[in-house]
């Protein structure tokens, strides 16, 4: 410990005084060394404790409140309902599926209206929500999403007016095609939105999150349909198949998300704290709802149980993703030591 810090030289300091042989440092040297108390390698160990700056976050978390997680759910359900409604139109008109089409139209418009309300409520300046539509900016998933939500909402409203109010027959058209495409996009763009940030856990999983969001949106819409109950046996068959496919895909995607997040400081956001509890809970609920959907049943109770479990799973999953982002942004190690 005799060399002078080169950085002290840079500051023009007197090496005689800044070296640890000077002044107070000499006083500690007069102490007789105690064999039972070896000197601690204090500064080096302290540096290991945290690589950064007083363990303060390097980046800032999104200031979004629970509204945004609720929007991820509502928008996802609406988009999946629009997609399933579009799929119904591809098939020859079937009177046994007409009640399902009506339910899907109402679910879609409700989700889009409520979702828009949630998004506006989360803004710092809600009265300026329409500024989102001043520009078209492909680099901003939030801007792209505004246009997707607008297209889905407008075409869903049109379908509702045409079929429910004016009584026109269901058939494929340009607007129904736009509705189906925009609906499918509505379920999945939110995965890109959170992935297009500096938040480590979102960024690490951004190639899987859109698939998880799409499948989970389908599962959430299917769960609502299970809760509502089927009007015909044909409807029950369609809903159960849609529920099984989307729940299996969502569950599988959640494992891929875990793998992508890794076992280090980045993935810790999905394992620890409130986000970890929500994430584990969401997966347990999702698995339970999958089992409940898989058991064939003529009764009402089992589908309703599957629907309730699936709805809880969908909500918990979205709150888990939002909470994980908050935890990940607050963890400097996740930013400073990329895995």
């Amino acid at each position: 410990m005799s060399t002078t810090s080169t950085n002290d030289l840079a500051r023009g300091l007197d090496p005689e005084r800044t070296d640890d042989t000077a002044e107070a440092a000499t006083q500690t040297k007069q102490r007789t060394p105690d064999p039972k108390d070896p000197p601690r390698p204090a500064p080096a160990a302290a540096a290991e404790a945290g690589p950064g700056y007083y363990d303060l976050p390097v980046i800032k978390a999104a200031p979004w409140k629970g509204y945004i997680a609720a929007y991820f759910y509502a928008g996802g359900v609406a988009g999946a309902a629009a997609a399933l409604h579009g799929a119904l139109l591809l098939r020859a008109p079937d009177r046994r599926l007409a009640p399902l089409a009506t339910k899907l139209r109402w679910i879609a418009i409700a989700g889009e209206v409520i979702g828009s309300g949630l998004l506006i409520a989360d803004l710092g300046r809600p009265a300026r929500f329409h500024h989102m539509m001043r520009v078209v900016r492909p680099t901003s998933p939030m801007n792209v999403g505004t246009w997707i939500l607008s297209a889905a909402g407008a075409t869903s409203a049109l379908a509702l007016v045409k079929h429910e109010l004016l009584g026109q027959p269901d058939r494929t058209s340009v607007t129904s095609a736009i509705n189906m495409l925009a609906g499918a996009a509505l379920t999945t763009y939110t995965g890109v939105l959170v992935g297009n940030t500096a938040v480590p856990v979102w960024k690490a999983t951004r190639v899987v999150l859109p698939v998880l969001f799409a499948a989970s949106a389908g599962a959430s819409a299917a769960s609502l349909l299970e809760l509502a109950g089927a009007s015909t046996r044909r409807e029950r068959g369609v809903v159960r198949r849609f529920a099984l496919a989307t729940k299996v895909t969502a569950l599988a995607a959640s494992f891929v998300v875990d793998r992508a997040a890794g076992s280090g400081n980045v993935g810790a956001a999905l394992r620890e704290g409130r986000a970890g509890q929500l994430w584990r809970g969401a997966r347990l609920l999702k698995a339970a709802s999958l089992v409940a959907s898989a058991i064939p049943s003529r009764g009402k109770l089992l589908p309703q149980l599957a629907g309730a479990l699936g709805t809880a799973a969908g909500l918990a999953m979205r709150f888990a993703i939002l909470a994980a982002g908050r935890a990940s942004a607050a963890e400097p190690r996740a930013t400073l030591e990329p895995t």
Partner: protein, 255 residues
Amino acid sequence: MSETLGFLTDTTKCIGCKACEVACKQWNQLPDDGFALTGMSFDNTVALGASTWRHVTFSEGTATGRIAWKMMSDVCKHCERAGCLEACPTGAIVRTEHGSIYIQPDICNGCGYCIPACPFGVVARRDDDGRAWKCTLCYDRLQGELEPACSKACPTDSIEFGPLERLRAKAATRLDELRARGVDARLYGESEAAQPGTGGLHAFFLLDDAPASFNLPPDPVVPTKGVGASWLAAAAGAAALGVMAVGAVLLGGDE
């Protein structure tokens, strides 16, 4: 477009006087952040924020364990590829004729997306006002051909303001000078080649320690880089949902 203007912040010259913080607050009429003492050396400002556009960091000790006291005046980096600008859904965030990044307060609707999009944690939203704020490179002063308040107030020229080309030349000279004296000095974000993730910073730094000890990320990357794969995954997810919907409708029999 006029010349590209920026800052060179030289940590080897910073004495931690916080004149930059005060001058910034005063000129831009920013509210105080409270008067709590943190116990983190002389840093009671803690971080850049909606009402703190210059922040002097105080690091005690270094990775090698030598006793040292290092200060750095942190600021918005005005990146060549700015995450906040690319994420902004309203077009409120623009690049000015000086190459700086500016948030138009009359457009910002407070969506908050620029905040996690910044790899440096610069942008923040004010609770009382609902909009996002950050350093403007004193856009108003530049209109009057005055240099920004922070660099004007800096008593040691640790903060230098000027055309980016001139600052780069100056930084290279200073770096050689320090290295000749044996100082472990380095530049941070001086060019696209040095920091491809951001395309280079318009407010770059000369550091005398690892970036992390000043709370700077070692490898900042604008979020839109590589987001194409995420959009492809979105398309795949949407297609999968469509296939599942069509499959359920076509294969779904009576139950």
